[in-house]
């Protein structure tokens, strides 16, 4: 353990940066998009994941400046990721994924549903939550990048 102030803080920043990059990658690769609202299980998973990497970032050091450097690094990286995605919309597809059409003109697109792991029951739940009972009444249903299924009914 190196105690000389600046070097140790720099190592904290590097640790936080590595954790950030790997977590973004890891969640992107393994995380199936959760459909619908975030539930308790999802929230708990996120909290536990955050706690699992906590000591890896701060090296178990409880000092305030360590905490500030670690949190600051994360905020800075999160902000630059958002700016990057904003400037290059094409990158968004790689980092966050693209929306997928699930239903077009009342017809399911089974290939897309399989690829995104959306079950028939999940789709119908989203449709009912929009106040529509039958698939035939659905003009368009899209799995958005935030995992929500948006449903556009036919205008009558």
């Amino acid at each position: 353990m190196i105690d000389s102030g600046l070097a140790s803080l720099a190592s904290i920043a590097l640790r936080a940066a590595i954790v950030f990059v790997l977590l973004v990658l890891g969640v992107r690769l393994t995380g199936k998009r959760q459909t619908g609202e975030m539930n308790l299980h999802d929230l708990l998973m996120i909290m536990i994941l955050a706690n699992a990497v906590q000591n890896a970032m701060t090296a178990g050091n409880p000092r305030l400046n360590v905490a500030i450097v670690a949190a600051g690094t994360l905020i800075l990286l999160g902000w630059s990721l958002a700016v990057m995605v904003g400037r290059h919309p094409a990158w968004q597809k790689w980092i966050m994924g693209a929306p997928t059409v699930l239903v077009q003109d009342g017809r399911k697109i089974p290939k897309n549903m399989r690829r995104e792991g959306v079950s028939e029951a999940e789709l119908m739940t989203a449709v009912r939550e929009q106040g529509v009972a039958e698939l035939a009444r659905v003009k368009l249903a899209v799995l958005e990048i935030d995992g929500e299924i948006s449903v556009v009914p036919w205008e009558e």
Binding site: M1, I2, A7, S8, A10, S11, L14, R15, I18, V19, L22, L23, G26, V27, T30, G31, K32, G36, E37, N39, L40, H41, L43, L44, M45, M47, I48, L49, A50, N51, A52, V53, Q54, N55, A56, M57, T58, A59, G60, N61, G117, S119, A121, T125, R128, E129, Q130, G131, V132, A133, E156
Partner: protein, 180 residues
């Protein structure tokens, strides 16, 4: 000095310790998932402040158990990776075997069909008449007989499909009742 600095960041405990972290994380994950299933998706339950606090406290309670007091970068990343892979595997399993998913998270329950309230289902799910009426009002409906279909979804939300009158706009009778 720089090499020593790098070594500080990238030094990792022995493989045996890392393997122990994988094991600890797996045990914690399984216990937490089991506990969540016991708590269940509360009917009509949006996430309350109580649920929120519970989740954060549980997460903090298991924190040191995950990495076993290990402070290395590698230890934390191994633990995080274990969590991600296990969660991926669980969701894959639930997708693969829909029957297992039904067992774990339940099936949607019809509460109202064709304007008729299914009291048996309501009793079984522990939903009171007042709660049902509150949900209907939140959807802008005053009485059950205006509802074609109301379903308690597995995530605890209630979805409401209105009667034909509101869609076709032909049966003015329903609208004339002073609902709006």
């Amino acid at each position: 000095v720089f090499e020593r600095w790098l070594a500080d960041v990238f030094s990792h405990p022995s493989w045996l310790v890392l393997l122990g972290i994988v094991g600890r994380t797996a045990v914690v994950y399984l216990l937490v998932v089991a506990a969540m299933r016991l708590l269940g998706t509360r009917p009509l339950g949006r996430m309350s402040a109580y649920d929120f606090v519970l989740v954060i406290v549980i997460a903090n309670a298991v924190q040191n158990a995950l990495v076993g007091g290990d402070n290395s970068l590698a230890g934390g990343l191994v633990s995080a990776l274990t969590l991600l892979v296990l969660n991926f595997f669980l969701t894959w399993l639930l997708d693969r075997f829909p029957r297992l998913e039904k067992q774990l998270s339940g099936e949607p329950v019809v509460l109202i069909t064709g304007g008729i309230v299914q009291w048996n289902s309501l009793h079984r799910e522990g939903i009171t008449r007042d709660e049902l009426m509150a949900v209907l009002r939140e959807h802008g409906v005053a009485a059950p007989d205006e509802v074609r279909l109301a379903v308690l979804e597995v995530d605890g939300a209630v979805s409401v499909v209105l009667g034909e009158a509101h869609v076709h706009r032909t049966h003015r009778r329903f609208r004339g009742r002073g609902v709006t």
